[in-house]
Symmetry: C2
Subunit: 461 residues, 2 copies
């Protein structure tokens, strides 16, 4: 074995062992710390003079915000990514997106492994044992799978985007760099753009738009779903309940979002009103895909009607699939609550879907996630209204976008004073890492009290 | 026995028998029909020429809206109650409030009886049997208790208000009529006013303001709580879980609402900024009490800061106590969801409070009520934005106020075209009768499926 391979192998073993140790103690708390450390690292990198286009150190609040936005794969930014940062700075941001995306997928998949049977860890109990007794092989192979899966997906997207962007830009190096940037930004649902005028320059190019859509859509399904789709393809009967629910709700919301967007904006001259019918349809689908959590926008959201922004709020809040780079409360959380409602309305003792009972515990975890999310958004909206003196609409939109790490913007982020940027930074962190680790903590919880009180029934409603 | 008494007694028997028959079949559906019929009756009364000040028939949409608002004890109105209606019309409205309030308390208490042990119907099962086998005596005595309780409370309020209003108005008859009107409006949490300029004329009178506050507060606790407080007073150990939770959350929200209102509006010249310190405090408490569901306002809500309106939105949505004339999702629903969150965060198997386990079923009913409420509010807000072209703030405020039958207004109701009035009418009906009967249907459900599917665990969050 050559020396290089041995060194790589040893480094790999060290990483596997470190991850094993971390997951063994308190995985959620460690995840919080790791994410905070990674954000601190990327903030300090962006603070370097060579990171900006002017060669001067950026403002701390801008660097912190952009680092948080990159690592949490949100895409909100108080500064123009193309103009404010040097190429080096942009590479730092792209690295932040990649590291953040991989970190989220890995951690979330570890959690997912403990609740689904499709990652080689057969039951929830076995999964816990597997992690807590340090079966490093499985954790290691999970990380490997995540990395390979991400790199392959990003490579495919880049291979489509690069030739097209070379033609559009008329510059091989620029096309190459932009293709890689957008491929990574899309698959990780990051929504960062490095054209000074956003996607306006490519907004008539169906190849670019559809590639971004596919990248965002695939990325937003979540790792457990992707792995299962890879294994079983369209043998729907072999799909897990989680995969079925994710695919159903994602498809439903995609259609609902696109149809409503088209209906409400069809003749709106500030948005898609002046486009051809084909472009109107294409842009409606694009807008709907990006509400999931993609965060790319061809049309400025603040130009849309208030009713469109309200629908966008609702769809952003739900977000994408669990253990994906999409944020929000997640489509399966929505599904579990909707199914609980349905079961109540029908008078069924248990809520169920596709011949599977959904445990009451899952409903309670779901409710907790939604309650936490709603509280974060409420507090942030309140803070932004007080800070900016704006009325409800834009602070709410921006808060939901940050919480759901979506990255669509009403333009408010660019106008915020430092205090407002800190609020949204905290919300991106809480929305991304907080919700994920909170759900993780609840799901892989080991200690449960054994005694029960007698029942008491308050009146509901 | 004199003939009059016999006739009364027979009429009473007939009513008892009718109620028994209705509750035996499908109580929730019957409640919907009865409320719709009562609203239709009061709409047609208001359509009479003698109901208006001008002696001409009012617009149908105005009559329908005001009848719905009165019977659902909301208090929103597209027309000025003092100026648009004749004395006869105002009496119709007041009768609508009284009938609606009694109907809500009776029906809601029937439901409450099936989940608490404090109305002589010992267990949930016994309660169902009691109703379904037609034990009319208990239903009859419940109605009697509700009526007596309401009339006594309203009489006490009127006795305080009448002398004071006679002095303020300088007119015995006016003072008498206004005292009775405000007493009924306050205890039933209706929020209707019959001063042309709202409460502005009495807004410096602490006796009137505090009497309204006490009336609204007592009315918003709910009948089961009132009955239990009457029986056990402040022997808190004897209180039911429901009473404890209701008192705790109500007090908490009262304090939070008042403190936040004071902090946010203290120096706001359009609202309380020009008042004396004492008046500022008094008005902050008043505003907070009315967010529960009272709907009286001294300061126009639309003049408040956006952050105050947002907090008002949140507190209105939660509303008051179960089986009360207050609306919203109810404070115990909030408590159940908060306790579920707390239990999850602490890793407890069951959520519990005051030494009582809260059944998972209660959490699911609570979630269903919240999901239904949020959906209603979302759809109504969307419709109002489309109808009016307004941005988010006022349509959301008005929708939540209608859903929670609160009656605070951003001024939008007065500006709405007929289509908008129909939307809010539907929302008041759905928010009041829909939520109540939905929760009732869930709670007293008899048929539950017996089989269970194997468990499936989607990933949450
Ligand atoms: K994003
Ligand atoms: K009211």
């Amino acid at each position: 074995m050559p020396q290089g391979d041995a060194a790589t192998s040893t480094a790999w073993e060290t990483i596997k062992r470190a991850v094993g140790r971390l997951t063994r103690s308190s995985p959620p708390r460690m995840a919080l710390l790791i994410f905070a450390a990674v954000i601190a690292l990327f903030t300090s990198l962006l603070m370097m003079p060579w990171s900006t286009a002017t060669g001067e150190s950026p403002e701390f609040h801008d660097a912190l915000f952009v680092a948080t936005s990159a690592v949490s794969v949100t895409g909100l930014s108080p500064v123009n990514t193309a103009e404010h940062w040097s190429l080096a700075g942009q590479i730092v941001i792209l690295t932040g997106i990649q590291v953040g995306g991989l970190g989220i997928l890995t951690l979330a998949s570890l959690v997912a492994a403990s609740v689904t049977h499709h990652l080689g860890l057969r039951t929830r109990l076995v999964a816990q044992e597997g992690i807590s007794t340090g079966k490093l092989g499985e954790v290691g192979s999970l990380i490997k799978t995540v990395v390979i899966c991400s790199v392959v997906a990003e490579a495919v997207l880049a291979l489509v985007l690069i030739p097209r962007l070379i033609i559009i830009e008329g510059d091989i190096l620029r096309g190459f760099w932009h293709g890689i940037f957008y491929a990574i930004s899309a698959f990780n649902n990051a929504g960062f753009v490095i054209h000074a005028d956003g996607l306006a320059g490519v907004n008539h190019d169906p190849i670019v738009l559809w590639t971004l859509m596919v990248g965002v859509f695939v990325g937003s399904l979540g790792f457990p779903v992707l792995l299962l789709l890879w294994r079983y393809r369209w043998h729907i009967k072999s799909w897990s309940l989680h995969t079925k629910l994710t695919m159903e709700i994602t498809t439903l919301f995609l259609v609902v979002g696109a149809v409503l967007y088209a209906i409400l904006e069809w003749n709106h001259l500030d948005t898609i009103g002046t486009m051809t019918t084909g472009e109107k349809i294409q842009n409606s689908i694009f807008a709907s895909v990006m509400m999931r959590s993609g965060g790319f926008s061809v049309v400025e959201n603040v130009m849309e009607h208030s009713e469109t922004m309200l629908i966008t709020n609702a769809l952003m809040f739900v977000g994408g699939g669990s253990a994906s780079t999409a944020g929000g409360i997640k489509v399966t959380t929505f599904a579990v609550i909707f199914l609980a409602f349905l079961a109540e309305a029908r008078g069924h003792e248990d809520s169920s879907a596709h011949g599977r009972t959904i445990p009451a515990q899952a409903v309670r975890v779901g409710v907790s996630v939604v309650a936490m999310g709603a509280t974060f958004v409420l507090l942030s909206t309140l803070a932004l209204i007080i800070i900016t003196g704006e009325d409800l609409e834009r602070p709410l939109f921006e808060s939901i976008s940050a919480f759901a790490t979506c990255g669509l913007t009403s333009g408010l982020t660019e106008e915020l004073p430092p205090s407002g940027l800190y609020v949204l930074s905290a919300l991106m962190f809480a929305g991304r890492v907080g919700i994920m680790t909170f759900a993780a903590a609840l799901t892989i919880r080991q200690s449960r009290i054994r005694y029960r009180y007698p029942e008491g029934r308050p009146i509901i409603g």
